[in-house]
Symmetry: D3
Subunit: 236 residues, 6 copies
């Protein structure tokens, strides 16, 4: 990802990004029903590195399987590139964990940008204390072996009903997580920055008591004039 | 709404109001599965002003539609009376936003008492910082156009499986939101105040170690005597 | 419960306990989809004392029924043994309350170790201020009479899809609640303590930058050597 | 059950019975989301005999448990009184069977009036060929041990969100199953017969082209006159 | 509706219509999760006439309300134009009926083209015997008063997550129901007829053993040649 | 697959197979919530050949994509080996089709043993007339492009919450579909045949009026003696 793009995405919201994607005909890029364990952090921004789970078959998911260094869950954690967001397809099933505190800590130490599952994490109280963006549906204490089997690394997946391709740009804030197709990242980031400047202006005017009619969107010429002046004054 | 009623409703809980309604045969007035974005505020109390969404049809929900000043979502925000609670029927669908931070701020500035949807709001981290009661199911970054089309203003609706008629009295606390039919507001408010006094007495006695048997409800004569004395001493 | 076992269970997580149970072939002991109202407390540990709800029939669930001292909900609250965890089978239905603030406070004063429902509690803001472990699905202001009828005390039940037998050992932390079959409590507690010591070692090493491969699980001989040294140094 | 009542209930629909119960303030007596495996049979009418399942714990639900003649599932099938309807609380979980073809056949041979679960039956193609009323949610091939443990015989239960007390009168037709509280069975049956006569008259008139206004309900005097004449002519 | 359009729509499938709509950017016009009670009938084709339900409030939904000739459910049945499809927004709630056999029969006699609800109908076994297209989610014996209140006639609604505007063209077959925006009906019908001719050709060739590659879609020139010949021979 | 195994599996039920798998510790091999479109056929038996769908991204799923002969959906249909069962992971989402009548017909002509999706098929009325085993959740007229993107051929998948590996033996009957791990197919088939013989004996005895106690399972010595005699007489 272009460093400028990354920096731009650190400063915009998932809501604004969803609108920029909607304008391009992409309406399903928000990962549904996940929330941050630690909502006070800066934005999470990185390229998607994925792990796919399938339903666990009991004979293939005994506690012994983790002794295998090639086990895809462990292997993926050790191979995820620094700066990437680790995205897990848990089939929206939070009855068992997608991963736990130790693996999440390892990812953090390896330099990942964050981790997302549409299932749940175990050790969630510990994870919530890490300075690391982590998103899930709800806490899930049971080991992943209970219902999940890691089966594929870095293939296209679904996460919370959103399509996720390896390399897509994933952005998270306190509201949730959005997936930007790789080829659109630069233009969407740039547009979102512009939109954010305008929305900040609108929010300020609304807080001063102005009506949204003619202002949001700026169908009144005066709104455009005021915005130009505000922008210049604000140096944005 | 009678100002006394409003003041009374500021001091009672949605739980107590639900019981007062249950005694009158109304069992479905609690809006299911919504929660406050900012739970530390005083009660939300106001008359319902409603907006109805239907499923979005793509050709009628391009980003351009907001340029129309008559768009029902924008129009409703500008016409909602001061003191009212803005209640949205989003068909319990939180895949896209019912509204965002700017519209919520505008409603606040226009003097609304609060806003409720059985879907979700976007810009939820910003909204959570406003001194304004806002209730939803969960955050939803995508623009409402994605799945919702605003279609009717101030008609009877459903919200979280509760029936809501314009003018009904809507009360929210940190637990959730209850809808009081307009014609019952005064008597329910008065009764809830009385119930609250008694429950405060019971809670105090329970914390002192008393059994609930004979006390809650006060089937023991002694409980009624004690309550009378406590009430007099407490000046309530 | 053996006092040693209780003390051991105060110091381990539900995640670790789930793994110890999984090793014994028990994969469904975590109560699904409940969360603490007051997550900052020490672990909840106690033997299960149960209450079973069935769907309410209107003629049997008027507000008058609570005048009956034998009403199972009230009777159970007064008979629950000190030290026990009160577990309610609400059929995962949170449309109405399983109980409210007064009954929860009474249980606390009577010395119960905590309370769990797979439905919801009313007066949840008040309950959240009690120094008492309380777990539910979500707040529910309507009185239990609306959809629940208390019918059986201290029988085997389901709670959040987990089987709960009276006397089972129930443990809750900030993540959720797990049910340990009574006959396994001692061995599972002891094993969980051992696992916790090892996981603490691993977490420390991971935070120092070590790979999980060969460490977790400790398939490298060096990992076992290091752990032995660490354990001795840490006096655990 | 009064033999007259039974005969009356053989000739009315669950829809009519639901209305008769609704008039008495009972709105939740229809078992939700179950359907007949063999919809061509006469009505099922009998007193409820119940079986309660809880979630299965693996160590208590090995294939060996059926060797125990006291196993509640098998015991209940052998003890259910002739003429009774066997109603199972499967917690609306159809992932595994509530029972299979052999037990259903045994119940039929023992003279039961029918069987209902809010889960599923296995061997459903075989069961569908028996001349015996059987209702479930959907087919479920896995043995009940997979998710269900039979725990209580003939206690009050929930089935498809309806309250069922032993001895309640259970009626099934091609539409579904309704539960009539025992003390109301005679009066509800008699009223339903009267309602059915009137509805048959209305249906005939509607098929002749008459408007429902003034006819259903018969707010026009002429409708009542016509009905009286029709009834006399029809000998009902 | 243009009579040609109607005739064309009688001969195409909902599947083909969904594809024609998808090509125009409309992806949500299929009414989700409804099925015909009587699947052997010709297609249902007509313009939408709608009824909107909201959640029932108990005091407004006693059995007495039907005495009011202005009750929207009854009024709508008597005012629905001949040839129209009566579409009900039941909020996907099939716990109680959207209507019963008498009203459905009345609609049939009044010349309606069919009826659809995203809830359920009562008297479903009787309705299944009428020569009239009727679609619902599942049978529902309880009277609509139990959970539904009819509130609006012929307004835009949602039905099974599809947007339905009065006058839209509604088509049902044995698979389900699709809603065609009024302004697109003619062109979509014509295109669907063309698509059907081609698909019939493809189906015939596939049944003769031909590969779908190059045939469906006809990217091979030979496929287009063969189709032209087949079409001429078939006189379509 | 061993031809004997295949023949054996043609003569046993999915219910019996689920029990044989349960005895081996495999409790999740039944594909949940799918049903046959054409329940009168012989068993479906074949080795799994899989297709994985992910959520559709709009720009990658225009109607044009089918012109690509390498499109995984089309390619898989043309490459599925004769005798195989085509199993689709549709993430349990039946809002759009997994495939339609033409592709299903092509698979049939190519000699596949059947097709299963945990979503839905379009053209379901046509498919129901093919002499070919087809299982889905419910009909779904919209093209798969609406919500599904075919992404992987013949990888391990989930289908209806069951794990499916390419080569697993898939068996369907009028009840549903079960997945037998490849390495267990021979022994499970043989055991299921034996179980079926015994269950046929039991069913016959039960229909003659015998109690299940001591018979099912045959804990009475006499039951075993009777079975031996019955088996010899029946020549099985």
């Amino acid at each position: 990802m272009n460093p400028t793009t990354k920096q731009q995405l650190m400063g915009v919201s998932t809501a604004t990004l969803c609108t920029a994607l909607f304008k391009r005909g992409l309406a399903h890029q928000f990962i549904q029903d996940v929330r941050p364990l630690n909502p006070g952090l800066p934005n999470m921004v990185g390229e998607a590195y994925t792990l796919r789970y399938m339903p666990a078959r009991e004979d293939l998911n005994t506690i012994e399987v983790f002794k295998n260094r090639e086990h895809p869950q462990r292997k993926a954690v050790e191979e995820c590139p620094p700066g990437a967001v680790f995205v897990i397809d848990s089939r929206k099933d939070a009855r068992a964990a997608s991963a736990g505190g130790i693996l999440v800590a390892r990812l953090m130490k390896r330099g990942a940008a964050g981790i997302v599952t549409d299932g749940g994490f175990r050790d969630s109280p510990d994870i919530a204390r890490l300075p690391f963006p982590v998103y899930h549906q709800r806490p899930a204490a049971p080991t992943n072996l209970t219902v999940h089997q890691a089966i594929d690394i870095n293939v296209p997946i679904g996460c919370g009903d959103a399509p996720v391709f390896p390399g897509d740009v994933v952005v998270g804030d306190a509201e949730g997580v959005v997936v930007i197709p790789a080829h659109l990242a630069d233009e969407v980031a740039a547009e979102a920055v512009e939109m954010t400047v305008f929305e900040d202006f609108v929010q300020e005017k609304v807080m001063e008591g102005r009506s949204i009619l003619g202002l949001y969107p700026p169908t009144d010429e005066q709104s455009r004039v005021d915005f130009a002046a505000w922008r210049q004054a604000a140096g944005r």
